[in-house]
Symmetry: C5
Subunit: 353 residues, 5 copies
């Protein structure tokens, strides 16, 4: 189940104390490094974070991607060299952050949630992605190895589109855009599961259907929690009065913003859908109860009077003239059939049959 | 069923990559072309988009309408000639857009949803309409062939109203106005279906009624999704500080805005109506269950005691003095009738009969 | 039933095309005419609208009231002489408008909904009232003949209060105020009907009670639709930066605004009341079902065991020693009474009796 | 029951027409009069309102309290002498006002609702309190005699706190503060009643419990209606740019504002509580139905098969070998016990026993 | 149960009258005292509040912590010496405050709620913490002895982090941060309890489960009441234009703000979770009722017809030819078995078995 409640850290700690909060999703942090401008391009895997430091002040765009955030001293060294505020470092290693964006003057800090669909558990999971955008560098932090940023790397390598011609702000935009685009895939899958549950609901709802609806609702809450704050993040980036983001990037940010709103709209609509499905489920239970009751009532209402009649002529009174009649038995049988027919007719008129 | 969840495109693509997302609703894109000012008027079907290009810089108002958006290279050529931003072109061919309006300085881009009622499926469908408003041209993109813009064409041809005397902004307004006017027809039909479902509900609700209510609710969500953002679009056009929209057009835009609010109001009210109908449906199920239970209870409560009495005198004890009495049988029958009458009276007082 | 869904007009028409939308509530439009200032007063019925035209430019306050709006050419002539925008004329004859207020510089256009209670149908109806406020004239349009403006006419005739001493803005205020005051009467009646339904609910709810609640809810939606926008209309009048409305009138407009808020509050509260009543209705159904079930259970649980005992001694085994005992029959009867008493006691302890 | 719907006055009346709307709660209006500054103090009961007039222009703070507002001519005379706007006077005598605050330049008009708990009816009632704050006077209007302002009078008499050292604005604050403090007492009582209903709900809910919950909900709506607008009133006083309110009073007004928010919070929370209680009530009905059904089912399911067996051996076929067996009867009895035991075991496994 | 309704104090009291409202949680107030700057540090327990007074004007940061607020004269003396407004003192001793922040120019007053989990009662309790932040002192007031501030003291003692290098504003921040961090622990526990209740719900819901859900909902309301206002408090501190808070502290306050939003988000999500759980509970009751009904119906529908057949052949008519047939009995038994089989088959097809 996607976790909706927060993990707590120890309260009263000095702010900026680096403590990894969250699961450890990779064994050893991996550092990947790309450096480019319009004319040149360099990509390498690096072993120690220090290898990246010389590129901090080159005019080329430097992108350092760190996968695995549980080794705090890497984050610490990086923070010291790039002069990042201790609170940022604390946020990077604490995976319980809410998506946010903060402008620190000479760099901008962004926290996002990357969503992926866990086929095995048939549910949505999330991982935290943090970005630091400086004037000529972007540092990104991921929890686990995924190839979600691979298309961006490919575009840099091949010099496709405008990415090599623009600055670090466009790179940061491209990463955010990739993450938001990814949400649509998650939502498409989510939508399919809602449709499936809906079909089940119409055909033959079982208590498992209710469980499924409830699970979807839970995931919807989880999605909302991950996506709602994004709206402020992206509009904050667009409105930020900072030289770090060039005016030309604005239109791309507004494009991402539109997508974010689309994602939020879809989530809100799925909420309405799910609550409607619950209503249908409840009324289908009531309907089935009605069916059961009707069957019971019809059986009971027909046979109880007949049994009574049989009971009367099973009495042992000495003087019961009917018992001695030649046609007593056939007459009683006929009466019984008549009673049954009248009752069946009555129930048919009531539309119970 | 109207689709409520988005189709996803491949994430990580370079922004501005033209990929058609949506159904292909026409075989081959059709291009229609109208050029006019107060004194002259010219209309022709064109085969290649290039035929329209020379009119870009004439002072007359040029209206290019493209039906069918899956051939991306037409869009691309057009974009290049009219100098449209790649993101716009991407939005035009992706039919999953949310209605929006964006001011690019020398042109304004508008995305709308055209709604039409599918009689065959008895449901509402939508198609995306994009408009590009330049200083002396309007380019409109439709997904499928419909005659919704025909009245506007007619007004241009005949020079009716002020359309020939005004600029491209008024033409764009006229197109938006036509689309919004069209919503009222959809809503009228939608309202009728709600009334029908309501009548069914009062007369004789069945599980199909619930399905109908649920379908209407789904369509209401779909409508809301298409119409809500329109509010911002139209008010954005009115407030836009752009030389593209003349002041005299403002009052017409405010008129469209009023209509948009009316449409939204009606959708919100239909939401309230539908949730009220669900309540009635649920209580009608309970009421019918009550009816069934009463019938069962009355039958059982009357005949079970009588059967018991009959059972007593069916026992085979050697010494049962009543059995030998001359009037035993008639007395017992009378007692039975009395018991039945008392119980009937009791149920009538309880208002169950 | 009050109509909640809009009637649509033909889409794509040139804006300003005058088409009457709505029912025709009077045979022939009537025009009434009042002209006054502090010292003089003149009132007459006029046959043709042209008779009113000379008064347009006199310094006295002129009030033209037109009842019946289906004869579009009267509206058209009036519009031409008083130089009204075509969109206004279109709004006047389309009775599906949402209440609104628009400042056109040299006049202000106001649309309101007049509510009246239809005793025969036991429901609320509405009619559209439009006002045009110029610097020295007010033109009002009503759908049907009603005496709702009579008190204002009376005040003018008798020179009561400040109405003769003030300008056209005060007259417009007085008309709006009269309409809003009228809402309180409607709400009082509406409140009474809610109280009635409530009493019925507590005493003896039937499916008809549910229908009544649902009808009241529908009317509440209808009321809200008519009254909510009024808030903006009145506050718009108060805040409007126009020489048409004198500062001294501001305090009166704020008074109307307060009343509007009171009306809206009451409608919102009635909404809460109605949803509470629905809950009570549903739970009363469940309660009654409980009652029915208890009766059934008590009857069945008592008599079924007794019938079983009787059945045992009705068996025809050759060797059943009890049957031959002298006291067999009385003992069995006693056992039966004991069983019944124990069960009755059990049900009383369960508080079912 | 607290009235939630408004009483209407006659529409179309000239604004400022004084008509008392509401119940008459005292026989004859009483006027009390206090005049003070830091050094002197004077208190007297006055017979005619004219006795108070000379104090209007003295530099001392004058507090006139009028209890009973149905004698309109007192209000009228007062209004003329203190130069109050006719609309204010109309509001004072119409007890259906919504709490509000209006700044008239040389005085401020405040309407509040005083709440008190009616022990006899076990419900909350309200009365309207109006205040007029001038530069050196406060006029207060109450509907009925209550000692709610007595503590303020006492503070003035004894010169306790800062009241004698400050101006009329502080006196007005003290009156408002007293009224708001009073709300807490009402809410405490209200809270107790909710807790009581809750306890009843957990122990043994009856239809009366539902009635109680519904009554509390009604009162909650009534409370909300009286208290919500207060927020704007008090914050309006604090923000008002008027020389009538000294800066030093601001902090006290913010204190009252905090209390108002607390009151509103509590009301909103009680709303949540009440809706939760309704859910519990409904589910307790269902639970009890379940209990009833289980009892019925257990009885029926055990005895119906047994009765059937007895019925079989009560048949009168000539050739039924079992009937003649020596051990037939005991064997059948044993079979019956076995069937009963198996069924009991089955129901215990189903956790119905 | 956490109390949701306010305790009232006596209305009409002079503002600033010190009356302790709330439980008395410690016997005797304890005063602890810390004084530090970057180079020196001093900590002592003090007996009388006067011992702290000399430090008011030293340039070092002074932190006075008072545990136990029922002895009003300590608060009063402190207030007099530190020149605190009487309304603040009143708020400190009244534990029913809503969290708030007020800027008094030369000091800032903050009220917060500290939450702790009462293991014994298995519920959340709260206590009020007030802070006064002056230019070189912080005074904190707690209701009971807890070690929540101990980590801060430890940081001061050891000179860890930046706390010794910064001013009183950072100390105040550290205290607020500690309290907010503490909320996460409460929420984690709360979340666990929700998960537990959820598991119970899926496995085997009982009326106790409903009680648990309701209790959690109540606590959720209580949490919301304590935490919602915090948002304004912290953002108010950040935005306050006061020399008391240095710019460098702003980023830390924004960090606390982010945490506050996270807490509020989690509470809102738990609200959604709880209402979803209620729906599941209700539908599980209905489902079980369905189960019960099916068992009853199957038993009744099978055995009632069989009993009827037995009854027929238990009649005592003189002429019933079947009774005399050699194979009568076996044939009837076979018929009975057939009837039962057909009915079982019928119920299996209906999926009731």
């Amino acid at each position: 189940m996607p976790r909706i409640f927060q993990r707590a850290k120890k309260p009263g700690l000095s702010p900026g104390t680096l403590i990894h909060v969250g699961e450890r999703k990779v064994d050893k942090p991996r550092i990947s490094f790309i450096d480019y401008d319009e004319t040149q391009f360099q990509e390498k895997g690096v072993k120690t974070i220090e290898e990246c430091f010389p590129f901090k002040d080159t005019p080329t765009v430097t992108w350092i991607n760190i996968t695995g955030i549980h080794e705090v001293d890497i984050i610490e060294k990086l923070g010291k060299h790039f002069d990042l505020h201790p609170l940022i470092l604390e946020d990077i290693v604490n995976t319980e952050q809410r998506p946010k964006m903060e402008d620190f003057g000479n760099y901008i800090f962004i926290v996002l949630k990357m969503l992926y669909f866990n086929e095995k558990e048939n549910e949505i999971n999330s991982e935290q992605v943090s970005l630091v955008l400086g004037s000529n560098f972007v540092i990104s932090f991921q929890e686990s190895i995924g190839d979600v940023f691979e298309p961006v790397r490919e575009r840099i390598r091949k010099g496709k589109g405008r990415i090599r011609k623009t600055g670090s702000d466009y790179l940061a935009y491209a990463l955010v855009d990739t993450i938001v685009d990814n949400y649509f895939i998650i939502l498409e899958k989510f939508g399919e599961r809602i449709e499936e549950a809906q079909e089940e609901l119409v055909k033959m709802p079982t208590p498992e259907t209710l469980q499924a609806i409830h699970k979807l609702k839970r995931e919807m809450i989880f999605l909302r929690k991950s996506v709602w704050p994004l709206r402020e993040v992206v509009s904050g980036l667009d409105r930020a009065e900072t030289p770090l983001i060039h005016e030309a990037t604005g239109i791309f940010l507004r494009d991402v913003y539109d997508h974010t709103i689309q994602v939020i709209d879809t989530i809100e609509n799925s909420r309405d859908m799910l609550s409607g499905m619950l209503d249908i489920y409840l009324s289908s239970i009531s309907n089935r109860m009605n069916e059961v009751m009707k069957v019971l009532t019809i059986f009971a209402a027909i046979f109880i009077p007949l049994t009574f009649i049989a009971g009367v002529y099973g009495m042992n009174f000495a003087f019961m003239p009917e018992l001695a009649w030649r046609w007593g038995y056939p007459v009683v049988l006929t009466v019984m059939v008549l009673v049954a027919v009248v009752l069946l007719f009555y129930f048919r008129r009531k539309k119970w049959l």
